[in-house]
């Protein structure tokens, strides 16, 4: 499970005077779901286009399933699924015709089309023209084409925009299933909270530079963001906070008797012990680890602070 499907080495891509991607390097492994996170213009889409071979790197090299994607060899592309941001289809053809066209290009048999349409819930609308589809339906058709032919690499640019929660769930189930069978899934998204539970690894891009790369746990450790611990304290405890909480990290009163304490990574356990001590005036307790949103904001800040 450790064979790299995508290797990016010191890749820089320049458009005129703008460096869209600067010296980015990373490997993506088999059976890995990776979230590519960043602002608009951070270089996410550029990276995906580079992996597809639609544009060539200004310097550095990229390898996808063992091939240079821009070299014009199609062996790798047959095992690759791509969903562009704002996917578009010719409005004149029906959903079934559109998917059949893409299936032929990938040398997939015609009977592969109907089950895929069913999987994304488009069976009823399959023989309607794509021009009559809603945004969500077009997105689902886009997903269906990306899933053609059991791809070993899935590159999904903002995949869940326009999907309702139920479809979103079934979409992530599908992705998880493919990942379980050894596919590499790269998700680029703004919807960070959504990725949080799904991505085993996060790559944060800012202004073309990779600013962070690792599992959520690793990133939390690097960022040293405090874990928020919410305590519901008795009246008596509220009056004597500093006594029983000890040399506490910063804390603030939220509403009523709820208090929020920022616990540093190493002080967290000690704090929890004190709060759960039999004598502690604590009625209830919640532990809120830093979210992906906060991590993201942290890495962007620290990158901006650096020269």
């Amino acid at each position: 499970m450790s064979a790299a499907t995508i290797r990016v080495r010191e890749v820089t891509k320049r458009f005129g005077k703008v460096d869209a991607v600067r010296a980015a390097s990373f490997d993506l492994q088999q059976g890995e779901t990776v979230a590519l996170v960043g602002h608009n213009g951070a270089g996410k889409t550029t990276l995906i286009k580079l992996m597809l071979g639609l544009i060539r790197p200004t310097s550095g090299s990229i390898e996808v399933l063992g091939d240079d994607p821009a070299a014009g060899q199609f062996a790798a592309r047959r095992q690759l699924g791509f969903l562009p941001e704002n996917v578009a289809f010719n409005p004149g053809l029906t959903g079934r015709e559109t998917l059949a066209f893409y299936a032929r290009l990938k040398r997939q048999p015609a009977f592969a089309v109907a089950p895929l349409l069913d999987r994304v819930g488009l069976t009823v609308a399959a023989d309607r023209r794509v021009g009559t589809y809603s945004k969500g339906m077009r997105q689902r058709l886009g997903l269906a084409q990306a899933l053609l032919g059991e791809p070993r690499v899935l590159l999904l640019d903002e995949p869940t925009t326009g999907l309702d929660p139920a479809l979103r769930q079934s979409f992530y189930d599908t992705v998880e299933e493919l990942r379980g069978r050894g596919a590499t899934v790269l998700l680029s998204s703004h919807a960070l909270t959504e990725l949080e539970e799904r991505a085993g690894r996060v790559i944060i891009m800012n202004r073309g530079i990779k600013v962070a790369d690792g599992s959520l746990g690793e990133l939390r450790r690097i960022a040293r963001l405090p874990t928020k611990i919410r305590l519901k304290v008795t009246e008596r405890g509220l009056a004597s906070m500093s006594e029983w909480l000890g040399p506490a990290d910063t804390w603030r009163r939220m509403n009523g008797r709820t208090v929020e304490v920022d616990a540093s990574p190493e002080g967290k356990i000690a704090l929890l012990r004190r709060a759960t001590d039999e004598a502690a005036p604590v009625e209830d307790l919640d532990v809120v680890p830093p979210t992906l949103d906060q991590l993201y904001a942290h890495f962007l800040r620290s990158d901006e602070a650096a020269p």
Partner: protein
């Protein structure tokens, strides 16, 4: 090759769906039928050379209409798909850019060929139905006319692709396409005639004349159809010009083919270098 056919098939499917095929065929058939009946008026319904008259009028119609239709279909082919976002997805598939371009070319040419064959064939059919006697030589000229009309369409499809592969947005492509049509169909010939009148045969003759004619595909087409066949020549009013050029029908066909292939190759080159 298979990819080319897959793309071509989709283009034809789209052409059928968005009524391009239907509209083009009906337009060409309606105009061809009108012209063939109007054309038979001066020679009378028992005209010995009814089909030859039709060839002369239809080839004049072709010069105006086919380049326009071809440019309308083709100017949008690349830049339009790029702007709509469909090209990005298509090129992520295991298909080469030249295959996409060639596939579109085959598909668009098939649409145009189908419309021309059916539309103009209707004119010939109407003549036969009305009882005109047509000799084999006229049939040959008629078939050559249809074939070269499709080739002229191919020229302007290729030119349209070249424009489409070079420009930044669809509006520009449409503007340039109209400009190209105006130049090749109207302005070039007017300027050419003006030049001949002013020059009075002093310097423009022989080689220069040939070169100037070959530089405009519509002139090549006109010359091929109106002077290529002796039976047609007498009706066309082109006998004078035909005598002063030394271009053979074979040369003219090669020139037309080059006019289609060179822009197509340039379009493929421009498209392959483009970044999405």
């Amino acid at each position: 090759m298979r990819n080319v056919l897959i793309v071509a098939r989709k283009e034809i499917q789209e052409g059928l769906r968005n009524r391009w095929v239907l509209a083009t065929t009906l337009l060409l058939a309606a105009l061809a039928l009108t012209l063939s009946f109007l054309g038979s008026a001066p020679t009378g319904s028992v005209g010995m050379r009814a089909l030859d008259v039709v060839i002369v009028s239809l080839s004049s119609l072709t010069i105006f209409l086919l380049p326009l239709i071809a440019l309308l279909i083709s100017h949008d082919a690349i830049i339009g798909e790029m702007e709509r976002g469909t090209m990005l997805l298509l090129l992520s598939y295991p298909v080469g850019r030249w295959q996409v371009l060639l596939g579109k070319f085959v598909g668009h040419l098939a649409i145009l060929g189908f419309a021309t064959l059916l539309g103009y064939g209707a004119a010939a059919g109407a003549l036969v139905a009305s009882g005109a006697v047509i000799d084999p030589e006229s049939w040959t000229a008629f078939i050559a006319m249809i074939g070269s009309s499709v080739l002229l369409g191919a020229v302007f499809i290729a030119v349209g692709y070249l424009v489409s592969a070079l420009v930044r947005d669809r509006g520009t492509a449409a503007g340039i396409a109209v400009g190209i049509w105006l130049v090749f169909v109207l302005i070039y010939d007017m300027a050419f005639l003006g030049l001949l009148v002013v020059d009075q045969g002093q310097t423009v003759s022989g080689g220069v004349l040939n070169a100037l004619l070959l530089l405009n595909p519509t002139d090549v087409y006109r010359l091929f159809n109106l002077t290529g066949f002796a039976s047609v020549r007498s009706f066309s009013g082109m006998a004078g010009l035909a005598d002063s050029t030394t271009l053979t029908p074979a040369t003219l066909l090669v020139a037309l083919a080059a006019w289609a292939l060179v822009p197509l190759a340039l379009a493929a080159f421009a498209f392959s270098r483009r970044e999405l």
